[in-house]
């Protein structure tokens, strides 16, 4: 949170990106009522990039199912030091969700989540925390196992503790419940969860750099 540029009392600046106008307006209104500053909305990837550049939001609430740019591409191009991306999407698109968090999104919430959950998630995202659903934990766990089974030598691995924490998140336990069960502080649980994402994202970044060098783009 050392990077936070805004005063603690100022409302969190949010950009809502969704191609469905009804949904966009509904969520925008809900967030405004909950005390956030909805600084813009966008219906597709290109527009999202423009609005994000103009309004400098802290949190982008992003639907993955956009026309044009893929969610992962958009995230990779939008990502900045003071901008965090919370994916709000349908549960059906597993690979898309995994690609999105690998590309740099720090949280994921299903669209059917309750308003309290959404508000808490936007707040947590703004504070630099990772927002995990059980579904996302299952995906990340599966991705680490897939990478471990593959031939690549530099794959990131989970520590035993991180695996334990992710499994409990996937089984629906809340962070305080996990902290109690593993005799840890909730803060430590949160850090473990955050680390599992950071490692995947770093690997993704390293791969992109290597790809760019191989293709002679520098």
């Amino acid at each position: 949170m050392s990077r936070d540029e805004h005063e603690p009392d100022e409302p969190v600046r949010v950009l809502v990106v969704d191609d469905h106008p009804m949904w966009r307006d509904g969520v925008g209104r809900d967030l405004t009522e909950a005390g956030f500053a909805v600084v813009g909305t966008a219906g597709d990837g290109a527009q999202a990039l423009r609005v994000a550049a103009a309004t400098r939001p802290q949190v982008v609430l992003l639907d993955l199912n956009l026309p044009g740019l893929s969610g992962a591409e958009l995230i990779a191009r939008m990502r900045g030091p003071s901008l965090r991306i919370l994916v709000l999407s349908a549960s059906g698109e597993r690979q898309d969700v995994l690609d999105a968090v690998t590309a740099g999104a720090t949280g994921y919430l299903v669209k059917s989540a309750r308003l309290e959950e959404l508000v808490a998630a936007v707040r947590a995202t703004a504070a630099g925390e990772a927002v995990f659903t059980p579904g996302l934990a299952g995906l990340v766990l599966g991705e680490y196992r897939r990478l471990a089974a593959g031939p690549a030598p530099d794959t990131p691995r989970l520590t035993a503790r991180e695996t334990e924490v992710l499994r409990l998140v996937a089984k629906g336990l809340t962070y305080p419940q996990i902290a109690e069960r593993l005799v840890l502080s909730p803060r430590t649980v949160q850090n473990h969860v955050r680390n599992t994402l950071t490692k995947l994202q770093l690997r993704n970044k390293a791969q992109l750099v290597r790809y760019a060098l191989e293709k002679g783009i520098d």
Binding site: D19, H20, M22, W23, G26, N65, A90, S91, G92, R94, Q95, V97, L98, K111, S112, A113, R114, L115, T133, P134, G135, L136, A137, G138, L139, L141, G142, E143, R145, R146, A149, R167, A170, K171, G172
Partner: protein
Amino acid sequence: MVAQLWRATAAFRLATLVYAVALILRHRHGYAHPLGGLLALAAMAGWTVLATAGYARPALRRRAFVVADVLVAVALILGTRWVDTGVHIDHGAPTLPVSWAAAPVLACAVTGGPWAGLAGAAAVSAADVVERAALAPNTFNGVVLLLITGVVGGYVVRLGTRAETAVERVARLEAATAERERIAREVHDSVLQVLSLVSRRGRELGGEAAELGRLAGEGETALRTLVATPPAAASGELELRALLEPYAAERVTVSGPAGPVPLPAAAAEAVAAAVGAALDNVRRHAGAGASAWVLVEDEGDVVTVSVRDDGAGFAADRLARAVEAGRLGVAQSIVGRMRDAGGTAQVTSSPGQGTEVELRVTR
């Protein structure tokens, strides 16, 4: 494919006709009946035209026409004995149609497969042997080659036809999948968005609207499961996530890896049935408002599925006592099913802590 085979047969017939014509024109002065040689030549040319035209029309590719084709060849082979001199024949002179007589064998193979090919080859070979009144070594070789041509030709035709059918089926399947994906996208972009919005706003409004919202949420989950494309699995295997996804509901979360989790069909079905039984238990015993989470983990050689709920739970000895008392419900439907499929099931619970069922199958 069939049309191409008929064209190939016609080309073979024409090429061998040219060869037979050349041989007859060259040898005719030595024939006993040179005019007979020219007659045979005319018959072969005429039949080549007739057969090529006839086989070009699917309606005429019938048994009677093929039999006539074979009979023409047989008649020409037998006619050699009348046209040519006995001395020539006994010294191994070729029959009048030479390899032209193999064309009807090909026609048999293309029409009726390996057995018909064999029958046609047998008829033509028999005529060959009768014509020579002996089975000289080169006649024998010719007969063997002809029989092989009939059987192998027919077999290749059958394989080709099957491959063609398979390719057509795959093309149809691909078209159906593409259409399914299109529908899924449409449904996703329209109906699902509205349903999830109704579901969320309904719950916030409370009262009767909350009930409507709950129903919309259930509809959303069901529809989403329906339009999700099931990943393909090898034959004899089933994709576990596709089997478990339908259990997802308002209070049931199903999670696992992004990729497919294939298992032998029997094991996959046993796991799915055990998960269903465990979720039934949650509904019946965990208490109102209990949620459940199903987690699929693929560790390579072992697949683990856990079903956890946040309900009432029970004391550790209750399950054992239930088994002793003959109330086998949970034990039989979950533990027994998994044991039958070569897996294990472990149930852990304590009062107030919910229940967790862990199913494991070794690949």
